[in-house]
């Protein structure tokens, strides 16, 4: 595998972050930590918004979110992702798309 930092890719993008109002939330963090063994969100999010901490905890930071919907659909067993679009005008702003 070729090492690459997703941050370097996201750095090229334009965002208007709605500070303090994340549009995606983990419903029950304890489920991620103690029940979900697979934690696909930490692998398959194309913007690397979900991080697996060493202790099993999953941390979500939506600033770089591309609003694709993957994390919501992929969490099939626990349906633990509360997913909305950002407020109008906020979030990713594609220059080219």
């Amino acid at each position: 595998m070729i090492p690459v930092k997703v941050e370097e890719k996201l750095f090229q993008n334009r965002y208007r972050v709605d500070s303090g109002r994340p549009h995606i939330n983990i419903k029950n963090p304890a489920t991620c930590q103690s029940e979900c063994k697979t934690q696909e969100c930490t692998i398959c999010c194309p913007a690397g918004c979900y991080t697996a901490e060493g202790n099993g905890q999953v941390v979500l930071i939506t600033d770089g979110c591309l609003e694709c919907g993957t994390c919501r659909i992929i969490c099939t067993t626990y349906r633990n992702v509360d997913w909305e679009y950002p407020r109008g005008g906020y979030g990713i702003l594609f220059k080219f798309g």
Partner: protein
Amino acid sequence: MDEKFDAIVVGAGPSGNAAAYTLAKAGLKVLQIERGEYPGSKNVQGAILYSKALEEIIPDFRDDAPLERHVIEQQMWVLDDESYVGSTYRSAEFNKEPYNRYTIVRAQFDKWFSKRVQDAGALLVCETTVTNLIMDGQRVIGVQTDREGGSVYADVVILADGVNSLLAKKAGFHAELEPKDVALAVKEIHFMPEETIQSRFNIAEGEGVVIEMAGKITQGMMGTGFLYTNKDSLTIGVGCMLSDFKQQKITPYLLLEQMKAHPAIKPLIEGGEMKEYTAHLIPEGGYKAMPKLYGDGWMIVGDSGMFVNAVHREGSNLAMTTGRYAAETIIDLKEKKLPMSARNLALYQGRLEDSFVMKDLKKYKNMPEIFHKNNQFFTTYPELVNRAAHTMLTVDGVDKKTKEREIRKSFKQRRSLFGLMGDAFKMWRAFE
């Protein structure tokens, strides 16, 4: 905004724009709501524009639409780790006006389309997210937005809100998407001088090449890669089924990075300046995964209705066509002064059934399943095809007949003759 409209269109992608344009042109009072800063700011495509669907809505679109290059050559590559076997189709036909397909850049294209929609008389409100449908019993009577006092009403609401289709889901019209019914695509845009693109791809000014790729680049997942030429940029991306990403635990941007490093691809993008990285879902479940498309006071068009033909990489054209059909249905009912009830809106389904839209989707209805169950199409075959080409093309003193026998043997070893015939049969049945 306590005004009432004839129709509200949620979304300003190709489906929403086609619907709003058609309605406004017929003189209906239309409100279109888009959550992005401008139309296109949330949207992602490869992007190939098929002329026909747009021509039927805006015949003179070529006059001022932001078109990148007209496509004169289509390549299909089957890749192994270090090599690829490719086919090229280039035709002088494709180089005759009016051109049949173009590469586009969606943010620019959607902005242009939206300008035409507004010129036709529709009212567009951007930077506004529709949060819920307003219901009166079973009937949709309007939408709630995230603006203050943001409820608006209409006789009918067209849901052109794209693949995630949150609104219909919240209203209980359909269930959550399954990972096996959507592909996740990631892509980048790389800028370089026009002349560099022209010499690298052996094309003249204004001419374009598209390359579709399958094989090792998807690391065993069901999916494809693509490389398209724009005027002074290239888009490169890869999309695979979400169920495969989930099961095989593959990180999308690592997959893309690996693909970019392939010895056949790397020199084509060399020296480009990467200016944007995007990700988007594509609804690829096909006919069998389609949701209910209309009800009392509402209709679904475009990606939110699963209108994508994955085999032929058609999406935006189906979006525009379904948007137009929905609008024409509404116009018909208005003229006859009929209510926008489920019963009357069933005419939309009828229009779809009679057209290429449903005919094509039905024709390929078994494709997703076939590919899901037969991942050799994405793993074993590309490898074998490349090895076969290598064997045939290496001059090493072994006669061709012996080589052919060896190739046949290697195919059979990896997959039984019965399996091979079964695959051919399945493909034939799916395309037939």
